[in-house]
């Protein structure tokens, strides 16, 4: 019996907890149209985890990547929440590169 899995579970909870401010602040200052970039960071982070030979570090990196991908799917709904006044609304967001192209894509929501 060893507690590796349990500790990883707790670490996952803490990393996912970081995902909440990531989505809230990310949407407030950048806007939901940054979702492809957040998703891309997530995929690259998960790929990076494949090359980390220390088990716990590989797992933490993988979960961090999953959190970024999950966060990217939450940005659109968070943008609607701010428009309804449930969270602070910021009209002066930093526009993403290739904004026009991204606008034509359907932002994911799960």
């Amino acid at each position: 019996m060893n507690t590796f899995g349990f500790i990883i579970g707790i670490a996952t909870l803490l990393i996912i907890g970081l995902g909440f401010p990531l989505v809230i602040r990310g949407e407030r200052y950048l806007g939901y149209l940054w979702w492809p970039y957040m998703m891309g960071i997530g995929f690259f982070t998960i790929i990076a985890s494949l090359f980390i030979l220390i088990d716990w570090l590989s797992v933490v990196t993988g979960v961090l990547g999953a959190t970024f991908i999950w966060g990217s799917t939450e940005l659109k709904e968070q943008a609607v929440r701010t428009e309804l006044g449930w969270f602070p609304f910021n009209a002066n967001k930093i526009k993403p590169p290739f904004e026009g192209v991204i606008k034509k894509w359907k932002a994911p929501h799960l």
Partner: protein
């Protein structure tokens, strides 16, 4: 190459996704929230027990993540009910518990105000309702 991080990432993503959808669906249809809460709590503890006793590192990792996600979902039933009370999630008029919430909480609504695309500006409650109607 070390696949443990990848396994953890896929497990975390799927368990968050499935948990997220299941909590909303079950909270909406269940007549009580204590039964789903206790069920998720029990499943979470059983899954964590499997994580402790298995010798396979991949299974240990996956069970550890799924178990903690289930324990978090147990808390989420109450949090989701609070969202329903505040009108941040829709009530189900076919659920007697939600009908009670509708009568006791003025902010509760049957409308899902989040079911639309952003428009890039602050909107009033009425505008928000019009926007979901046109979506």
């Amino acid at each position: 190459m070390n696949w443990l991080g990848f396994i953890a990432a896929v497990t975390a993503f799927l368990s968050i996704w499935i948990g997220h959808v299941a909590v909303r669906k079950i909270e909406s249809t269940s007549r009580t929230i204590w039964i789903p809460t206790v069920t998720a709590l029990a499943l979470g503890l059983i899954t964590e027990y499997f994580s402790l006793i298995t010798d396979n590192l991949s299974l240990k990792t996956a069970f550890g993540i799924i178990g903690i996600t289930l324990l978090w979902d147990a808390l989420e039933f109450t949090r989701q009910q609070n969202r329903v009370k505040h009108g941040h999630a829709p009530t189900n008029p076919n659920n007697p518990r939600h009908v009670k919430i509708l009568t006791e909480h003025k902010s509760a609504t049957t409308l899902d105000l989040l079911k639309r695309d952003p428009v890039g500006k602050l909107v009033s409650q009425d505008e928000g309702i019009k926007l979901i109607a046109g979506h």
